[in-house]
Assembly symmetry: C2
Homo-oligomer: 221 residues x 2
Amino acid sequence: MSKASDRAYAQIRSRILSGELAPGEQLAEEALAELCGVSRTPVRDALRRLEAELLVARNDTQRTFVADWSLDDVADAFDLRASLEGRAARLAAARMTPEVIARLRAANALVGQAIQQPVADVAAFLEGNRQFHAILLETANSRRLTALLNTLVEQPVVWRTAHFYDQASLVRSHGEHTELVAAFERRDGDWAEAIMNSHIRRAYYAYSDAHRRLTIAPPGA
Amino acid sequence: MSKASDRAYAQIRSRILSGELAPGEQLAEEALAELCGVSRTPVRDALRRLEAELLVARNDTQRTFVADWSLDDVADAFDLRASLEGRAARLAAARMTPEVIARLRAANALVGQAIQQPVADVAAFLEGNRQFHAILLETANSRRLTALLNTLVEQPVVWRTAHFYDQASLVRSHGEHTELVAAFERRDGDWAEAIMNSHIRRAYYAYSDAHRRLTIAPPGA
DNA sequence: CCAAAGGGACTTGTATACAGTCCGTCCGGG
DNA sequence: CCCGGACGGACTGTATACAAGTCCCTTTGG
């Protein structure tokens, strides 16, 4: 979209993802407008987009809040995501070509490098991950699936999951991508789907374990 | 949403669904504003919503058009819908209660009456259908799934499919709903999912057959 | 005759003013 | 002390004016 509207969208979005705007917090259009240095009109546009992505929610009287996800919501989202990404993997397997495989390998190599650092480079890990999944989606060649998954993946909770990973999880994640490539080489859609399903589910449990550690933290922490 | 915005949304939407606004046609905000008797602001809101539903599309310079679906797009949408509705049926089976089953029966009874008329009452058929699927979604209890399916179902092509059905198809559709209830009574999620999958796929073929009849019509028609 | 440049009509983007609605607070009565 | 209603601030919805960008047609030069 146009400049002011884009700026508003990007600014609000990054503030939500970073947690600077906390879940449950009310978002007044005028305040956001001032924050982004634009008028209310593009802010309203931005909020519409963020609402579609479920990053913000409205109450019955049209006031807007940063979406507050219960653990159930998170489970719901991961569940659906596992199913849809599994489906994408299966579709991609059917349309796989040597050259796409090469691109997938390259993306996964990024991930490999990121986890070999003394302290894993989480940003690089995420970027490699993103590329891998993007190539896969592109190959699956379903506009709707792509649109749906993009909104599911770009959630704060999903996004931050990798930060909860320990080294072993990062390595396993990399290994699963490698295995996916193997499934693609054999054009085995069922295998690819199964790996992907397991891949996402593990990510969910990494999240929920970390969540439990953090919320049922030592009393007085 | 608020009054003017809602009116704009409803008006434009119904004109697209009815075909009065044809696929590919450009939608100028000002013209729509006049058509709906409101200013451009609520029209822009409405277009955003319709864009999220994929009823309208934008080109790279932000001009808006009535979405034009290729047969591939339709296949893609039905495919995804089969998968998601199947999933919903499975989830619903796990949470089924006698009272929900009673409601499903009631909705299906409407469908039964509709097809027993000398000439099937398509509107009543659609309404019963809608209720059945809505109850099912509500029981599946996944906010995201509900949101996604609602956008998938409310498409012109999906919506008009029933008008292409012959009497036999209507009867079979009703029968599948009855079978779904049986699966729910046994809380057999796998069975429910399988029926639902087949249910949606058959709807797709009914559509694509009709499409073929209409587009590869007798030369000179 | 074709191609590229220019200009004018049209469409969308943004700012702003005003109207309508909601929410909390404060005051008075029971 | 508690409850209810009215007032005031704050927020969102809508209309409108103006700015910026796009499209298309015409015109001009090769």
